[in-house]
Symmetry: C3
Amino acid sequence: MRSVIDTLDLSVEEIDELIATALDMIQNPAAYEQACKGKKLATLFFEPSTRTRLSFEAAMYELGGHVLSMPDAASSSIAKGESVADTAKVISHLADIIVIRHPKEGAALVAARNASVPVINAGDGGHFHPTQTLADLLTIYQKKGGFRHLTVGLCGDLKYGRTVHSLISALSRYDDIHFVFIAPDELQLPDYAKRNISFSQTNALEEALPRLDILYMTRIQRERFQDKTQYERLKNSYILDADKMKLAKPDCIVMHPLPRVNEISVDVDRDPRACYFDQVYYGKYMRMALILKLLNGTTDGKAESPAQEATRACANPRCITTAEPGLPPLCKRGEDGKTRCLYCEAEVGG
Amino acid sequence: MRSVIDTLDLSVEEIDELIATALDMIQNPAAYEQACKGKKLATLFFEPSTRTRLSFEAAMYELGGHVLSMPDAASSSIAKGESVADTAKVISHLADIIVIRHPKEGAALVAARNASVPVINAGDGGHFHPTQTLADLLTIYQKKGGFRHLTVGLCGDLKYGRTVHSLISALSRYDDIHFVFIAPDELQLPDYAKRNISFSQTNALEEALPRLDILYMTRIQRERFQDKTQYERLKNSYILDADKMKLAKPDCIVMHPLPRVNEISVDVDRDPRACYFDQVYYGKYMRMALILKLLNGTTDGKAESPAQEATRACANPRCITTAEPGLPPLCKRGEDGKTRCLYCEAEVGG
Amino acid sequence: MRSVIDTLDLSVEEIDELIATALDMIQNPAAYEQACKGKKLATLFFEPSTRTRLSFEAAMYELGGHVLSMPDAASSSIAKGESVADTAKVISHLADIIVIRHPKEGAALVAARNASVPVINAGDGGHFHPTQTLADLLTIYQKKGGFRHLTVGLCGDLKYGRTVHSLISALSRYDDIHFVFIAPDELQLPDYAKRNISFSQTNALEEALPRLDILYMTRIQRERFQDKTQYERLKNSYILDADKMKLAKPDCIVMHPLPRVNEISVDVDRDPRACYFDQVYYGKYMRMALILKLLNGTTDGKAESPAQEATRACANPRCITTAEPGLPPLCKRGEDGKTRCLYCEAEVGG
């Protein structure tokens, strides 16, 4: 059974294939309107994310399938005292594919290891959110003609923003990508996310803007700042408005994972370079392509990294293992040679 | 793009056409069961209204379409910090038509002005609820054979009841309609709603009942009364029961928008003149007719009244502009010559 | 109109017929995929039960029908001040069949008496939950080859567990069933549930286990114990684990209505005798068979027991009549000759 927990579960070739399928779906929607006829997709949302849920549900309907919707899994009986593992086993008897969102890191992997149907991670805490990245990739592909020779600015909260980390690791597999990290010092990208990439970093959006092919904005939350006076000083510099857009190249595109609060001014919406609503549009098609691929059930693709029993429990308080004590403590060897929790990838004793 | 925010957005001719379509749907349901095949209707409910939501969803299913359901929009991520304008833009990429209910007056208009698909208002605060009025109109049409030469009693809370205001303005476009407003003084119809209509008013339901062709009951809430002793004195006089029904004409019909609490006694349900559950039945067909009309996408119909920038912000605390600060302050000239907020129609400086 | 409130509303012959239909659906799913085309099933859940709701919704989709979902009826406008009776009348105009779950005993019967479409009880307080029993029956039928000559152990909370009571009364209609009730004294089966059956009882799971053909586990809640030291002493004895399974026959099956907490250890899941996830699988097909039977609308079957007006109101605080004062106080003569509330079956004055 093939599941997608992280964008990197998909090879570069598979992403190419998903993009090709998505573009064909845009061109020939009628060819796909029965593609998943009779199939049922379950949306298990243990924390609300209406946009993501509706995007998956719209995708399934456009493929001719049915939807079992659980917008409120956290307050439901399924959450009260029932493990994610049991829920995955139960839903496997009711649906043909499961989309899960959960506040704990690694929860989607737990579901995938226990389900007998494919599982798509729609966000597990601050960890992974692969279909947002797939949406971003198709948007870039369509607007920039591919993934090569790009200067990509990422602005805002680069420390905690999983969207940003996931996009960086996905784009870093292509040639000649240069990243510009635009953030206050306290919210700069962690060092581990900077390995093997070409990048520069700055505090100043205006300074970086003229060089960019892509500007990816994210929200900065006041509560992230220890020094509130610094927040007050900086907050406006990370608000993109029509004035700042004058500094950008004529073909620089502006992206945002949404929802925005005020970090992109409404007056930018009319700028043809604004692409953040296009991301919603393309996201639906990438989800369609992914659902179709997983339901068609080729089990090829990247082999799961072999897990081994860990000698110590994971200490990450955001890890699903701390919420669901029945889980066996498992670990794997990371790319950096360190032993990491299988579920949340925090470092643990081997 | 054509949207329906107020019943008066539809001309008398269009209402005739919707009634004709709804009646044909009742006669020939099979002819419509593929009418909206492959289309998706989104129900964005920022406050709960299960009856209205399920009526729209049942309507869409009977037309062969799909439903993206958001029963809990207020507690969802889409509500947290995201504007109605952005939500409308996002959902436009996922659905073909949007039904919105929101506690703020003017919210549906904001959605309509930002969506790229048709929007139907399913209630915006105490402002409009056009599909309830369409349900009422088809019920009257079927039970009374048309909209002419009718004495229509409206009983209960006539001051705050939007259902009542909307029905009055819809019926006042037909010939020879006489209204009887039956309410305690504190809850009588506001003067602005009495313009250009033939009416009488009274405190006494028993006194009015023998003259009526239609009795439209609404709920009176205790908390509306400043003088609780008056409430205690009056409360039973506005409860319709089998005894009072003896005073009514043999062909007088009894209507109610539901849910009722105790203002219509259960012993009236068996009276063939009781039509309040029929309103639910007819409401579904009028919603089907409206969805079909808007999806078929003729953009003719009443031109939107031209808006102009307001010099002062709207002061109505129930207006969407007070909840969503990014909205431009817009106003229009009312029929009474006064300058009114474009969104909520409260009077503002020009 | 035929509704199913209690498992005993179905005759032994009808249960045979449902099982035959369910098995045919498993063998020939394609033969049923249009069986309920164009029909709408409403799931009215006045308390959450995601597993049961999704099972009904999956069942309806596999029959080609539509679903009107109300996962949150309790917090919805339909619950606020509207009676179950009115809700049933309203939904009858929107759906072709109603599934209701409600915390009050007798609520499903109230819905059935007011709806003009079939009603299926998906749990009314601690009273009935017939489709769980149907799921259990098909599981037993498939795993044990029928319902005769079985020793059935029921373990855990036998006092309050409605699943257990319902299964006992359903199985007691077959030949040569012997029950073993395994529970602490405080949670043993009430005497009224032991009439006309062959049974023995014990406190010790290990003692009973070797004799059983079926072990039906249920959850024991700490708060049920008055004597907490007894709870501490007993709690582990009612946890089934791989070690205890060594005492069971090679063909003894283990069942549980789910969700489990810790009363069945995860290490039992891999035991081929563990059937609790199979119950989910079979439950969906029994729900499909029941929906199809009721929508096909034969009105034969067990005649409703004649109700008569009660002279005293029902005093059971969990009865729907205490929550919904408009209901007429009705009673019927029980099998034991006592006069019982029609809705909740508590004893009342005649």
